[in-house]
Symmetry: C2
Subunit: 411 residues, 2 copies
Amino acid sequence: MHKRIVILGGGFAGLYTYKHLRRLLARVPDVRITLVSEKNYLLFTPLLHEVATGGLMPEVIIEPIRTMLDLSRSDFCKARVKRISLTTAKVETSEGELPYDYLVLALGSETNFYNTPGASEHAYSIKTLADAARIKNQILANFEHAVYAPEQERSSLGTVVVVGGGPTGVELAGELAEFLNRTLLPTYGAGERAEPSVILLERGERILGYEPERVSNYARDVLMRKGVNVRASMTVAEVSGDGVLLKSGDRIAARIVIWAAGVKPRVLKLQPPSILEADGRIPVDALLRVRGYENVFALGDLAAVTDAHGVRVPDLAQSASKEAKVAAHNIAAAIVGTKQRVFTWRPTGFLISLGRWAAVGNIYGIFVKGPHIWWLWRTVYLFKMLSWQKKLAVAVAWTVNLFSRRDVSEL
Amino acid sequence: MHKRIVILGGGFAGLYTYKHLRRLLARVPDVRITLVSEKNYLLFTPLLHEVATGGLMPEVIIEPIRTMLDLSRSDFCKARVKRISLTTAKVETSEGELPYDYLVLALGSETNFYNTPGASEHAYSIKTLADAARIKNQILANFEHAVYAPEQERSSLGTVVVVGGGPTGVELAGELAEFLNRTLLPTYGAGERAEPSVILLERGERILGYEPERVSNYARDVLMRKGVNVRASMTVAEVSGDGVLLKSGDRIAARIVIWAAGVKPRVLKLQPPSILEADGRIPVDALLRVRGYENVFALGDLAAVTDAHGVRVPDLAQSASKEAKVAAHNIAAAIVGTKQRVFTWRPTGFLISLGRWAAVGNIYGIFVKGPHIWWLWRTVYLFKMLSWQKKLAVAVAWTVNLFSRRDVSEL
């Protein structure tokens, strides 16, 4: 009888779990892994902001899932997950029912608008390729519209507000400033230009609030120099088609508001539903097993993972890939009967791009910054890309971008 | 007082007219050219079939229009053309009214379903990037669906019918056969595969009917060897969601029917409407001027251009670019008061790709074929691409494709 492992989710968490399992179980007979995902590709989310701002073509930051699988010992099921029953050990998908012996929950997260009025209707998310294309196309449409619009509309047509000063918002704001000022503006004649402006709103006292203060200050200074209007201690009270209303009562006129303020776990129809935490996350034990189910593992953005000291592990591609390694180990150990392993969280550091030739980071506790870090940042991401074809495509695109303007085509 | 030249259409015809005019009028003062297009990019249509079959990313075959314009002496107007009044010399667009001194009508064509029942609802066009993406995504969806579909549906889920054995249909069929058999099929495990099949239906006695018989025969033999089922003398009576009904009464079960059987001029709201020919084309004189209007020129797919012998010039990128040269010359001549020129049509030849390593063509009357012609075909297209950035991107993609499978990601 086969052992059936079902992995739900085609993001970093799911794919890394698959890759580790494939290696760990290479010589174990009678195991079959099924990976379930709604999209047929892995999206390299850390580069999404470059797609939204014309630096990379959408297809270079995705990798088809099927070409990553060993089809003799695993399947891909392109389907939507409808219901998960831990009670009967079955997953109901849009392509039928999948029974499992081991289950990995890695379905990720969606944008969290925190019930801000108007946000889910009017703000742009930045989670998928379609999101990135929508943002780019709307920026282009607004700039085109500004050519024929009355003088007084040119400011709001050229303004992009980014809500949320975390890594996503910071990287996006830096790229947006370059895209609007350096790439887009010169393609319009004098007298037909929108007035470009990028405003980064952070609710806390400083952007990148989880990092040391010198990181925040450096990032703020670089962004300001690049033309980003960085405004901390600003809470958005409402989003509309005309811009944002701040809690202070001030209004910012903008045709595009991008919401990078947070994520929440994807909503699951789980049986029994009682196991979910109040914030919708799935609580896991130190082995990353869903509490009460020895054969079900949860990781990535939808799991409430805590480290040895009880501190919540942040939602990062980095943490997801480390969790994947432990979850895969523990499933393999359960199958072959060896010892399982406790998950420990030791961040190796982070690197944040601040637009062309600028980056800031912290590697094993050391503060790093400057153009060489920007190169390092890009190389790190390049090496994380999965196939040589996509590595080459990204490297060529980045090299071209050093010598020429980005692409202003609609997507 | 400025002379205002308005060019309607951002395809080959419109862009080439612009480029020639820009050169010819470089030293002529007081001229302003406005180019109007609904999309902000030029689409390199001859490579569209490679996008539909995973050979090229969509963005490498487009070129943003704004970066091609000299903004000090011309404008781009991204807008839909609503009405054209030759009587009052004004164009009404979705962004406002444009008066003109000289007008170029180059709005191109759309798919012609020849009133075949069900065709416009169920058949896929192949004219835009969105069309190419729809075709690729539907093929991928059908193959994924086949994994879980009952045995008897695997044939129709794997079948793609191409209607029309002209250059577009022939090139597409060759690429489809490779995509289905060489790229897509190996990404599925045994027992979960759709049965791939590409059927090319031609109404006439042979495919590429306008070319010499040996060209047709060679193309047919190559396509058959690559697994395309080439069927001549087949008229489609009806298209449905299940496939096509032939005039003979036979049915072909297929979930995807691609209509490459012909085009018709884009429908214009023209004042006076009486000047249009019965087939919707605009009749032009030997100088490419719309009959009765010395300051209005028409070219490309929407013009009824005849050569010196009264024979209709075919709708090709090649003819459009040659017409553009003459139209631009004649507008410039009218402005500076020099002699206008008669359009003569002398085809330089053609090259048709028949999938990987195979092509056929006719260059100045000489029959050519084989792998070196395939290389030539690609080089010809590469050199026609407009910017070095896109040339590089296409060259890299094609080189990668020589060593690896195409991209099976959804678009």
